[in-house]
């Protein structure tokens, strides 16, 4: 950086950054610390940051108390199916939105924006009734359908960004060679979009894996419930929680999305604006 920054200003910047680091990190560190503490230490009136006697008991107990594996399997199924279906149907539409100006793509863009402002309550009651009619309440498929549509706005937005980053000249060249529109999309554009499509799918996966409200409303049968819903069972009726197993289960539930997020982080942060900045 060629701008001259005074030493005190630099020091101030580091101090501020340190404050942010503490604020962002401390709840997560506390979660980890709690997860590894034995019951004796959790009952102590003077909790410490580092467990004196770290243990895995909480994890064992968490699996005993709640059907975490089954819930994780449900979450995995729902998130995986939703992510795959979402990108498969979103990619062609995103392509149209990015490349063609017309009533259709204007309406689609409008829907993407408006859907961000829906209060879910206005959608969930009719959805509940529709899915009940289709016998898809208490069914993972019902939830998957909802997740697909729910992740579409963001998927369309991301993918359209990636499409715009592909130089249209390439497609025009293929068109001059006589290739049809669909053919161009499949053999010229799609390969260039592949990394963007993967990133979008992973993002849709994370969103579905983390989702709570729809799962809470649409899945009442305990054997169908997803991980976030099962986690709330640890809280107990009156909020009297068994802190250790609660922390352990919560920590485990976060790991998959944290790992995936680490993988796509650059694409999300870079790709948000954009897929747009091109050198």
């Amino acid at each position: 950086m060629s701008l001259r920054t005074s030493r005190t200003a630099r020091a101030g910047q580091y101090a501020a950054l340190l404050c942010y680091l503490v604020f962002l990190a401390f709840p997560f560190l506390w979660l980890i610390s709690t997860a590894f503490k034995p019951a004796r230490e959790l009952g102590s009136l003077h909790p410490t940051w580092i467990p004196e006697d770290p243990t895995l008991d909480n994890f064992r107990q968490a699996f005993d108390e709640q059907p975490l594996l089954r819930a994780a399997a449900n979450s995995l199924t729902a998130a995986l199916c939703a992510a795959l279906i979402a990108v498969v149907i979103a990619t062609p539409m995103a392509y149209v939105m990015a490349r063609h100006r017309g009533r259709l793509s204007t309406a689609a863009t409008g829907w993407v924006v408006v859907s961000q402002a829906f209060p879910f309550v206005l959608v969930i009651i009719p959805l509940f009734l529709v899915l009940k009619h289709l016998h898809l309440i208490n069914s993972l498929w019902g939830l998957i359908l909802v997740y697909v549509v729910w992740s579409l706005p963001f998927a369309l937005w991301m993918l359209a960004g990636y499409v715009r980053a592909v130089p249209p000249e390439l497609e025009e060249a293929a068109a001059v060679d006589g290739a049809g529109r669909v053919r161009i999309l499949v053999s010229v554009t799609a390969p260039l979009l592949a990394p963007g499509i993967v990133a979008t799918a992973l993002f849709a996966f994370i969103t579905a894996w983390n989702e709570f409200f729809f799962a809470l409303v649409l899945l009442k049968a305990p054997e169908k419930q997803t991980l976030p819903v099962v986690l709330t069972h640890f809280l107990g009726a009156e909020g009297v929680a068994d802190l250790g197993p609660l922390a352990a289960a919560a920590f485990l539930a976060t790991l998959p999305s944290l790992v995936l997020f680490a993988v796509i982080q650059k694409r999300i942060t870079g790709g948000l604006t954009a897929g747009a900045v091109k050198s």
Binding site: L24, H46, P47, V96, V121, I124, V149, P228, A276
Partner: protein
């Protein structure tokens, strides 16, 4: 270097390969759009319209008698429902309380991340964590922090000699501020990343030129940085406000709306009305009111943005 807008524009202005094949193109376009359009119509636009219709009925869950149209009755009842308006007020307080400080903090962090500092990668990595976490886990995690006996917050308060600490989430005065802090924490990544992206689209040369002209840090921020990030800042703030106003999971896990309704956001209220008491029609009416208010706010924002665009 080509900037984002330039790329986007060149894409938009791409010559449509001849006007002649318009009809054929339309066919292909529909073919590409339908797979997404059908689910959107059935599971998003349809339910939205159905939901608006439900607001004018006495629909209830598990009732045998058929549903009747009741006109604006639900809305009349809503008008006199002080509990609903109380939750509405709390929803606005919460949305402003989260959005504004979060914006200020996120802008600060984005500026720091944009500067060439050593700990930058660590801060970036950490700033992402709240984004990747399920909201339910964020809620659980902060309950552990706020826990009156075993939580780190009260222990810190005691260590600093600031008293015995308190029961943050169940105290009438502290519950809302406590959940607002969590809301700020949870939404930091999206806001920071959006602002950082705006900052990185500012040509570096402008900063250098301004610095050469002897502009101080504040002036450089006001004349170079702020105009560049302003559109992003407006957009992300408007979205944040709406998302926060509509939020559910975080506060559901933290307080379930308690104590005494002090943190009962409109969504929590409508959820209880619909799925605990089975009042579908009434809850749908609440949803309509929320949409209406948000639409007005959104319109104000859009008009403001258009005006701002003309100025620029």
């Amino acid at each position: 270097m080509t900037l984002a807008t330039a790329t986007a524009r060149s894409g938009r202005k791409a010559p449509r390969s001849g006007r002649g094949d318009g009809r054929r193109k339309d066919g292909a376009t529909w073919f590409l759009v339908l797979p997404a359009l059908i689910p959107i119509l059935i599971l998003s636009v349809g339910p939205l319209l159905y939901g608006i219709a439900l607001a004018f009925t006495d629909a209830q869950s598990g009732r045998t008698r058929s549903t009747q149209w009741v006109g604006a009755l639900n809305f009349q009842d809503l008008l006199h429902d002080t509990l609903f308006w109380e939750s509405f007020r709390i929803g606005l307080l919460w949305a402003v309380g989260v959005t504004v400080p979060q914006f200020v903090l996120a802008l600060g962090l984005a500026l720091l991340l944009n500067a060439n500092l050593r700990m930058r990668w660590l801060a970036r990595a950490l700033a992402i964590i709240p984004w990747a976490m399920p909201e339910v886990v964020v809620g659980i995690m902060w309950r552990l922090v706020y826990n009156p006996d075993a939580g780190i917050l009260n222990e810190t308060v005691r260590d600093l000699g600031l008293g015995d600490g308190r029961d943050w989430l169940t105290g009438l005065a502290t519950a809302l501020p406590a959940v607002i802090v969590v809301g700020i924490w949870a939404g930091m990544p999206q806001t920071t990343v959006a602002l950082l992206a705006g900052l990185q689209n500012t040509p570096h040369e402008l900063h250098e030129a301004a610095a050469l002209d002897g502009a101080g840090a504040w002036r450089r921020f006001r004349t170079v940085t702020w105009p560049a990030v302003r559109p992003v800042a407006l957009a992300i703030s408007a979205l944040n406000f709406i998302w926060n106003f509509n939020s559910f999971a975080l506060v559901y896990v933290l307080t379930s709306g308690g104590p005494g309704g002090r943190t009962r956001l409109p969504m929590l209220f409508a959820y209880e009305e619909a799925f605990r008491y089975g009042q579908f029609g009434y809850a749908a009416a609440m949803g309509c009111v929320m949409v209406a208010v948000i639409s007005v706010l959104l319109a104000v924002y859009l008009v403001g943005r258009l005006r701002g665009g003309e100025d620029a």
